[in-house]
């Protein structure tokens, strides 16, 4: 699956070795939920499905977010940045949590005075959701 010619012309996968950065932002609160990567196929699938589909660098495969947990990200709006190497999605996060830790956002490690403080909001217990 590929992008249409207009989008293919503006999205730049070369700088990221075939990947662009993809940010998921809560459409209602503006909170940044997570950041991951997309290749052309995953971006095309995201647009087709209206749900976030990333490219997992660690597993080297398409990753339809929420396929296991049910916590999909419904894409309400999608933006490309000025040089086409990043995607911003304003999403509705089903289940209320984006992070595999069960926290609302992946950005729960606050850096203060050179130390890290966990300010995360726990939404679910990952042991209950990912039954492996």
């Amino acid at each position: 699956m590929t992008l249409n010619p207009e989008l293919r012309n503006i999205v730049d996968f070369t700088k990221g070795n075939g990947l662009v950065t993809a940010i998921a932002q809560d459409a209602d609160t503006g909170e940044i939920l997570m950041v991951a990567n997309m290749n052309e196929e995953s971006l095309a699938k995201t647009i087709e499905l209206g749900e976030a589909v990333y490219w997992s660098r660690s597993r080297q495969k398409l990753w339809h977010k929420g396929e296991e947990s049910g916590n999909v990200q419904k894409v309400r709006e999608l933006y490309l940045d000025c040089d086409g190497d990043a995607v911003l999605m304003k999403v509705e996060q089903i289940g209320g949590a984006a992070c595999h830790t069960g926290k609302q956002s992946c950005f729960f490690n606050k850096v203060e005075n050179g130390a890290v403080i966990d300010i995360g909001v726990q939404v679910f217990d990952p042991k209950q959701v990912y039954k492996k």
Copy 2:
């Protein structure tokens, strides 16, 4: 310049070949202003200065955002994500525009029905600011 041991332990530069993704979010409005990359030195400098310092992949050097235009990004809060390969900065954007195009945000290309629409807010004329 390097990170202190506590931060060095949590930030993961390996997955991005020495880089992490860095997102700048307007601290007041929640708008995503831009996304770029940081290596260890640039993240350490960002923390030391309290202003965003990126690593420019295209120029292969440290990039103290605003060094030319004066439009620095004052870092109010800094977060790391769950797996340590992304940084989120809540910033005060001096000059009101983050993008080299003179627009408020770099994410001005809205994708709708397979086409791209420019919804950008023009803050300054780049020809006036970058006198090259």
